[in-house]
């Protein structure tokens, strides 16, 4: 009886893993041979609408100047672009730097200073966004470095009245720092070049990722504004817009550099935050999605549910291991198939759950071949992610939520000397 129950549980878990594996294989094949959808990328000339670029910042003195310089350098009509650095209770020189920029560029840079209230990026957006107009609100983290044409590229899809959110591609620039940064570069490749683009090709659910992207202001207002009670306001917004009838699009060619964690503790904190935020979105949106609003196709709903579950897969895998071990001691065989499947998934990236072949395909499509040899080391990242995701999920389920205002929980900044370029950074770290 117990054995039958365990076998049933294991079979269910295997089915879930297989479903994700098939999903990612489908994405990989689609990305290779399917029609590549990028309908808005050739909108190079238009009557560009008013845009507000929001840059939430907490203690970002090292990098905020570089971001503002990059935004001021955009080839977007200056009279239609408002840059809003949101200084969220910084204790370093962020406020001073931002005010100095505002003084030099009156009307173009309009700082928003927060001195109290709930902390965190989501709260900062919720507070600041309603105060600024424009058709589009773009959001960038303070440590990003947008190229000159990026704002225009990200705004173009909003000329489609159905588009509620746009996501560009995030490209790590500090990849030479450590094995971890090189693995995260592979993970990002798989996640964007294959996974996001395939979802765009197949008209599924590309995810708005909270930076290098933007939202339609009126769409956000229509769904109740940014939520400040979630750790993943981006995932939450993706699904709220989707359920309300807006489209989320991904633009692979709208690329922007970012800094990825350079050490494991930072990476663990990052993925734990993502896990809890994503699980919040899973909890809130799985049932409304499952009920399938009339405007959503079955395939989209199914994939949307799978996307919501990507972080829940981690604890499920651990449960599967536990069941497999129990069955092993009970003498129930064969387990080789399950273990093989688990082994295959171990060479992937948790979170977007990109399988190793997805990562390798993405790197080939990017024309970066040598780094694919690092594939076996993905197991390191997987193991850490698996443990972090599971810890975060268990903490979320069993520990009480802290009542104090949410603080910023962000990735460490490695780029120094305000305004330094990725090239400078790369030169500095390559010894």
């Amino acid at each position: 009886m117990i054995a039958a129950l365990l076998v049933g549980t294991l079979a269910t878990i295997v089915a879930v893993i297989l479903t994700y594996t098939i999903r990612h294989y489908t994405f990989t094949i689609n990305r290779l041979v399917g029609h590549h959808r990028q309908p808005y990328v050739d909108i190079g000339v238009a009557d560009w609408p008013e845009v507000t670029v929001l840059v939430p910042a907490h203690n970002e003195e090292r990098v905020i100047g570089g971001m503002l310089d990059a935004l001021l350098d955009q080839d977007y009509p200056a009279d239609r672009l408002t840059i809003v650095p949101i200084n969220d209770r910084s204790t370093d020189a962020t406020a001073t730097i931002v005010d100095a920029y505002a003084e030099r560029h009156p009307g173009r840079i309009v700082p928003h200073h927060r001195t109290n209230g709930v902390g965190g990026k989501a709260a900062a957006l919720r507070d600041a966004a309603p105060r600024f107009g424009g058709l589009v609100h773009l959001v960038f983290d303070a440590d990003y470095l947008p190229g000159r044409g990026l704002v225009r590229q990200l705004v173009a899809p909003f000329l489609d009245p159905e588009v509620g959110a746009v996501m560009g591609r995030v490209v790590p620039h500090n990849i030479s720092r450590s094995l971890l940064t090189r693995l995260l570069d592979l993970e990002r490749s798989g996640g964007y070049q294959v996974d996001q683009q395939a979802r765009m090709n197949l008209r599924l659910v590309p995810q708005y990722g909270g930076t290098v992207g933007g939202v339609r202001r009126t769409a956000v207002e229509a769904v109740g504004g940014w939520s400040d009670d979630t750790l993943a306001e981006d995932t939450d917004m993706t699904y709220r817009l989707l359920l309300a009838g807006w489209e989320v699009v991904y633009q692979n060619r709208s690329e922007c550099y970012e800094e990825v964690p350079e050490n494991w503790p930072t990476r663990i904190r990052q993925i734990m935050r993502w896990t809890q935020g994503h699980n919040q979105a899973l909890w809130r949106h799985w049932w409304p999605l499952f009920k399938r609003p009339g405007h959503l196709r079955r395939g989209l709903v199914f994939d949307g549910l799978l996307l919501l579950g990507v972080f829940a897969v981690g604890p499920l895998l651990l449960l599967g291991w536990g069941v497999a071990i129990a069955l092993f001691f009970m003498g129930v065989i064969p387990l080789h198939g399950f273990l093989a499947l688990l082994g295959i998934t171990a060479y992937g990236t948790l979170g977007n759950f990109a399988a190793f072949f997805e990562v390798a395909t993405a790197a080939r499509l990017d024309g970066t071949f040598g780094r694919i040899r690092l594939l076996p080391f993905l197991a390191f990242g997987f193991l850490v992610s698996l443990m972090s995701v599971s810890r975060a999920t268990l903490a979320q389920l069993f520990l009480p939520r802290p009542r104090q205002p949410r603080e910023w929980d962000k990735t460490e900044r490695y780029r120094g000397g305000n305004g330094s370029s990725p090239a400078d950074g790369a030169k500095r770290v390559q010894r």
């Binding site: 309908p39 808005y40 990328v41 000339v45 238009a46 000329l159 030479s176 780094r371 594939l375």
Partner: protein, 359 residues
Amino acid sequence: MTETVAFLLVLAATAAWLLLPLLPAVTELLRPTDITPLQVVGRDAANVALFAQGFRAYLHRQLEFLPTDTPVESIGTLPDRTPYVRGPRLPESLLEEARRERGLDRLVVLTGPATLAGGETFLRERYASRGFAGGPRTIYRAVLGDVGLTLGPGTVVLRWVHARGDLLVGDDSVLAGRASSDQVIRLGGQVHFDRLAAERIVVAGGASLPDLPAPTPQPFVIPAGIARQIGDHTRVTGDLLVPRDSVLNGDLVVSGSVTIGPGAHLVGSLKAHGEIHLGEGAKVDGSVISRTNIRSEFRVTIGGPVVAEEEIRLGSGNTVGQQHRPSSLAAPRIELGIGTIVHGLITATEGGTTAALPE
């Protein structure tokens, strides 16, 4: 003990054998060959004249470093060893060479107005500082004109062409790559193109087109059963027909196909998951976006952009964009009717063509 030693040897051999396929990974880790960030080029759709600008800068640098005693009319090699010819016109010997099957393998720098007879092939870039008129059935790799440029019927441009003045393109020509002008591009009939950019892009034959009578605007309300308001747009489930001369305010998203009747006016933007058909004299102030095809009849006006994921076929006398509000037209396949005017940018990733002119 001997057995233990033997086992340790087997274990060592097994471990070494296991680690063997990991050698490429370890080598890449310790002595990286591929460790630079992905090149974020910021691929810019807007600057169609990018290559022309690059060529202009290149030419300027090369000519600057020619020996100071180099005559204005000269044949030789540039500092980077590119063969070139410079002068007010091409010498007859080189024209003959250009008319041969192989073509002329020299960069051409024209310092005076020039007219070609036709049938030549130019394997390298051609620069004209004064007016230039090419003959029929001429093949160019690329052309840059500081004033106006005229390309004869049956011209083929392989990479790009740019004119600071007007660019006139004869019937049955092929503009592969990029074609741009700082002013106007005038296209003949059956011209094939990829990307065009100018203040105004005009397909010939517009002068002969009749005007339409002014419509009699009628308010139109979409039936409530098929429409709901989402934010600032109206979403329609299924197909939609907007009757003749209707006026509709606001943005529209249609899950099926949509027909905007003759003379109808949408004061907003339009998106359809299915086909979009714009009737004669219809007007859309904003963008027109379709996941499939867009087809328009005679004298349709669109503010822009116009984007289709399969094909756009504009009828004759259509206008996209305005003089001071240029826009974009983008689809894998595009056909422009006679007398079409587009202000801004046209991108046909699988190829565009202008309609044949009436006999």
